[in-house]
């Protein structure tokens, strides 16, 4: 059985990018909307794919 990715945690790469954005915003930098959008779009894609996977009936479950 495949285990869906934990939807509530970012990957390591996402975490690093989130840290970078957080530090820059807290330092007062005005982050371009395109950069924030790119980060959130990537997160959205992962979450949406995983959400759909969860909603599909399992195909590889062994019943016994």
């Amino acid at each position: 059985m495949t285990t869906p990715k934990d939807l509530s945690h970012f990957s390591e790469a996402q975490k690093l990018k989130a840290q970078d954005l957080k530090q820059r915003i807290l330092a007062g930098e005005k982050i371009p909307l395109s950069e924030l959008s790119a980060f959130l779009s990537a997160s959205d894609r992962i979450l949406t794919v995983e959400k759909k996977k969860r909603e599909l009936p399992p195909t590889d479950v062994s019943f016994f």
Partner: protein, 307 residues
């Protein structure tokens, strides 16, 4: 007898404090003794509300694309949360809130959300609904000035859902379940919002509450709908008037009842337990608390700087 000024504006937090323990209400909202330690739950909840409001305003009022709107909300979340130090045993750190923000919009996508803001006649989406209204012009007057006592509040949104006009509120929590959903059925906070909406001729009949549980190991979400009938709203109004009339009587007599029951110990214990146990509470109050005035209209605490 020296009396503190009686509040002209009341909100649900103040009424709730009074019905829990009149003495707690006196110390916290009339004499303005507040904990010197800011609450992580209030701080994180405030940043969360700001992030969602910014996102929705950008999407529904400024007609930004969903991703642009979320980007603005993301920025607002971080800016609002700031460098607040989250205690290590609490899950609502800024890092976890950022993950929760991303999770929330995957759970409730802007483009397909069945909950949509209600629009005013001028075409403005009612994302954020604030009000301050006289509670009862006939029966409820300020004991010093004679002005009508006002009731203030702020809901996250007036929305439509399945054709019904609704009060909508987002909550952050640490647990979701049956008890989480049931707690809203009788919650005065929401009945007061429904009362205020009806006063503006907005035909609200139900409440939608969305909860997001931010835990160290997972994030979960839930949604609950609870109705507010005209009977519920009339009952709330009568109770609220009666409670504030009792507060006026306590203020006039100078005697503030104490709970002496579960409220003293629930949720980790009342913050006023130590002064409350003393026959001379003032030194405890002055030593352990700072003085800040809660402004129920602006929904901020303002430090009292003069002695």
């Amino acid at each position: 007898m020296t009396r503190p000024p009686f509040p002209l504006v009341w909100d649900n937090t103040m009424r709730s404090a009074f019905v829990t323990c009149p003495r707690k209400m006196l110390w916290e909202y009339m004499e303005h003794f507040k904990s010197p330690f800011p609450s992580i739950h209030l701080h994180a909840g405030g940043a969360w509300a700001k992030a969602l409001e910014t996102t929705r305003m950008a999407y529904y009022a400024e007609e930004k694309s969903p991703i642009e709107a979320k980007s603005l909300g993301f920025d607002a979340l971080i800016t609002e949360y700031g460098d607040f130090e989250c205690p290590s045993h609490i899950a609502k750190s800024l890092d976890r809130m950022i993950e929760a923000f991303s999770y929330y919009w995957a759970a409730f996508p802007l483009e397909t959300d069945a909950v949509q803001p209600y629009f005013t006649k001028s075409g403005k989406p009612m994302v954020e609904f604030s009000f301050a209204l006289p509670l009862d012009m006939e029966r409820l007057r300020h004991p010093e000035t004679g002005d009508p006592i006002l009731y203030a509040g702020r809901a996250d949104m007036v929305a439509t859902y399945a054709g019904a006009v609704s009060i909508y509120d987002d909550k952050t929590t640490s647990a979701l379940g049956d008890a989480w959903a049931k707690q809203w059925n009788r919650r005065a906070q929401f009945t007061g919002y429904a009362w205020a909406a009806l006063a503006f001729d907005i035909p609200v009949s139900q409440i939608i509450v969305r909860g997001i549980a931010i835990l160290k190991t997972m994030i979960k979400h839930a949604e609950c709908i609870t109705v507010r009938t005209p009977h519920n709203i009339a009952e709330w109004h009568e109770q609220c008037v009666r409670d504030i009339l009792r507060a006026i009587e306590a203020w006039k007599s100078g005697y503030w009842d104490v709970n002496l029951s579960d409220a003293c110990s629930s949720f980790g214990g009342c913050q006023f337990q130590q002064p409350c146990m003393s026959n001379n509470p003032l030194p405890w109050l002055e030593g352990q608390f700072v003085r800040k005035i809660w402004n129920p209209v602006a929904r901020v605490e303002e430090e009292i700087t003069s002695p």
